[in-house]
């Protein structure tokens, strides 16, 4: 029997995340390799119909839309129910989602409902002999496992920023509304308010470039150097645990084992020693730059480019050079 693949495209407040496009593109690729039929699911309130066509650009063919004014706010219990029921409706064998805050929470619940094995936070998906083989980090990225799922239904969540979105296709996807019966009891937990860390701030898990600072900055006010460098690059600001514990920076900027796991294109570590718990969160960054005055700092073992020097001289010079070169 022909297989079917369903990808969940996450939106919040009427906007798709970049990771939603990554999931759709990857779902489409895997569906092609499995010769499977491909569906994309969007959930939300009345506004999602307006944004759903965008998904055609990233490989979506049939977009299924579940709309309910109550779905405008994220509810784990309701979202899991909708996804599980849509999976059953279209008889999907595979579900792909992003390993975002939402995806990580929803996917295991859907798995419980439909008795599906799952692999979370995958960094690679390959089809080998008709089977999807997932690679995912364990032990905070100190090792990887290759996982195969043996149940009939299979769920994979994809680490954001790892899978390519590709060029826009300019294709038009078909849209279909699906009715799912929801009652109040399905909304056992509901997100009723979001508190932005700081208005307009880029989150480290979503950033292409991160400029992270550590204890080498000596005092909280010196973080303006990091902010200025981040600003020139359009980057997010990250921090080591030492400075978060000291109260210099908020916890949502912490990168590492007990902070966030990031995979940006470029990670610039300034005055960070590179303790194993910090490396755990950022070592999968594509390109790593370290600025540290200690030539033996462990950060240099993972850095692609390093400057052994005083950050208070190097960073201002770097800001100046970047402004010149990037024409800012």
């Amino acid at each position: 029997m022909a297989k079917r693949v369903l990808t969940f495209a996450e939106q919040r407040e009427g906007k798709f995340k970049k990771s939603a496009f990554e999931a759709v593109r990857t779902g489409k690729r895997v569906a092609d390799e499995l010769s499977a039929e491909f569906y994309t699911l969007v959930i939300g309130d009345e506004n999602v119909e307006k944004i759903a066509p965008e998904l055609g650009d990233y490989g979506a063919e049939k977009v299924l839309i579940v709309q309910d004014s109550r779905l405008g706010q994220y509810s784990l219990t309701a979202y899991a129910k909708v996804i599980a029921e849509v999976m059953q409706k279209v008889e999907a064998d595979y579900l792909f989602m992003s390993a975002t805050a939402m995806g990580k929470e929803v996917a295991p619940r859907v798995a419980g409902k439909i008795n599906a094995g799952f692999a979370v936070d995958c960094t690679d998906l390959k089809v080998e002999n008709g089977e999807v083989i997932a690679t995912r980090p364990v032990y905070a990225g100190k090792a990887f496992i290759k996982v195969k799922i043996n149940s009939d239904k299979k769920i994979f969540t994809l680490r954001p920023n790892v899978f390519p979105v590709g060029e826009k296709d300019g294709k038009v996807a078909s849209l279909e509304k699906i009715e799912i019966n929801l009652n109040d009891d399905d909304f056992k937990v509901v997100a009723f308010e979001t508190i932005a860390a700081t208005q307009g701030k880029i989150d480290v898990t979503e950033a292409d470039i991160i400029v992270a600072g550590g204890r080498g900055l000596k005092a909280p006010e010196n973080f303006k150097l990091i902010e200025e460098l981040a600003d020139v690059l359009g980057a997010a600001v990250g921090a080591s645990r030492a400075v978060v514990d000291a109260g210099w920076r908020p916890h949502d900027e912490q990168v590492g084992q007990t902070g966030k796991t990031v995979s940006p294109k470029l990670y610039i570590a300034v005055g960070i020693s590179g303790a194993i718990q910090h490396l755990a969160g950022m070592s999968s960054s594509k390109v790593i730059v370290a600025i540290n005055k200690d030539k033996d700092a462990p950060i240099f073992q993972v850095a692609d480019y390093g400057i052994v020097g005083d950050l208070f001289e190097v960073v201002p010079a770097l800001i100046k050079e970047l402004k010149k070169v990037l024409g800012k």
Binding site: A101, P108, A143, I145, V189, D203, I276, G309, L326
Partner: protein, 249 residues
């Protein structure tokens, strides 16, 4: 209030991972084990709930006999009793969740705490999956929890770019994130008391694995990076390399 906390025993964060002889799990020789760091926040929050509402805290762990260590640690912090689900096999998340859910069904707690993830397999799936298996809601990556007398709760969880506030009701499962509280250290008195607290041992119920590890690999070695200089003069070269070689800016 009936309170449960599920805890795990994991290699400490400094562990240098080596692949074991089976090629699928880590080499355990010389590895130091600890109570999963996120579970400390879970135990602490359970203690605070008990301090506010009264009740009993049951600590549950699934694993070999050595998992009794982490149960005792939670008892030393102040939990009341432990259940060790004995199992030496390699289980996937699904099969662990099923075994935990069996016992939790029996206890039927008003609130169940987990750490948001175990730092070995980093699945971050247990609170959601066990919640589904028990038919009760869950909230994970929780950094703030407020429980009211009428059983309604408000929790804050971390999301991209901030936090979201969640409304819910008991019974519920909470996945604790760092920031939720400051875990206490077991006192000497607590450690002594823990020795006489009951820890029941049972065989964990068997369930099939749905996910199978085919192979464990180490990350590809990074080729040694280049030191471009020792002062601000290296900056020009750095920017050139980032643009022309790495092509990231």
């Amino acid at each position: 209030m009936k309170i449960a906390v599920c805890v795990n025993r994991v290699p400490d964060t400094e562990t240098k991972v080596k692949i074991g002889a089976d090629g699928k799990t880590i080499d355990k020789t010389g590895v130091n084990y600890i109570l999963n760091p996120y579970d400390e926040f879970a135990v602490e929050e359970a203690l605070r709930v008990k301090e506010k509402f009264g009740g009993e805290i049951t600590v549950i762990s699934l694993g070999g006999s050595e998992n009794v260590e982490v149960i005792r640690r939670a008892l030393a912090m102040g939990a009341d009793r432990g259940i060790l689900l004995k199992d030496d096999s390699q289980r996937d998340t699904f099969s662990i969740a099923k075994a935990l859910a069996e016992v939790l069904k029996e206890i039927s707690p008003d609130i169940i705490f987990f750490g948001k993830q175990s730092i070995d397999y980093d699945n971050q799936a247990m609170p959601s999956l066990v919640g589904e298996l028990l038919g009760i809601p869950s909230i994970t990556v929780v950094v703030k929890l407020e429980i009211n007398q009428d059983g309604t709760i408000i929790a804050e969880r971390e999301i991209e770019g901030g936090r979201e506030r969640i409304r819910g009701k008991l019974p519920i499962i909470i996945g604790a994130q760092r920031g939720l509280n400051e875990p206490r250290y077991p006192s000497l008195k607590g450690i002594m008391a823990a020795k006489s607290k009951p820890v029941e041992e049972r065989e964990a119920v068997k369930f099939e694995n749905k996910a199978e590890v085919i192979e464990m690999l180490l990350p590809p070695p990074k080729k040694a990076g280049r030191i471009l200089g020792t002062d601000a003069n290296a900056v020009e070269e750095l920017v050139r390399l980032l643009r022309e070689e790495a092509k990231v800016i």
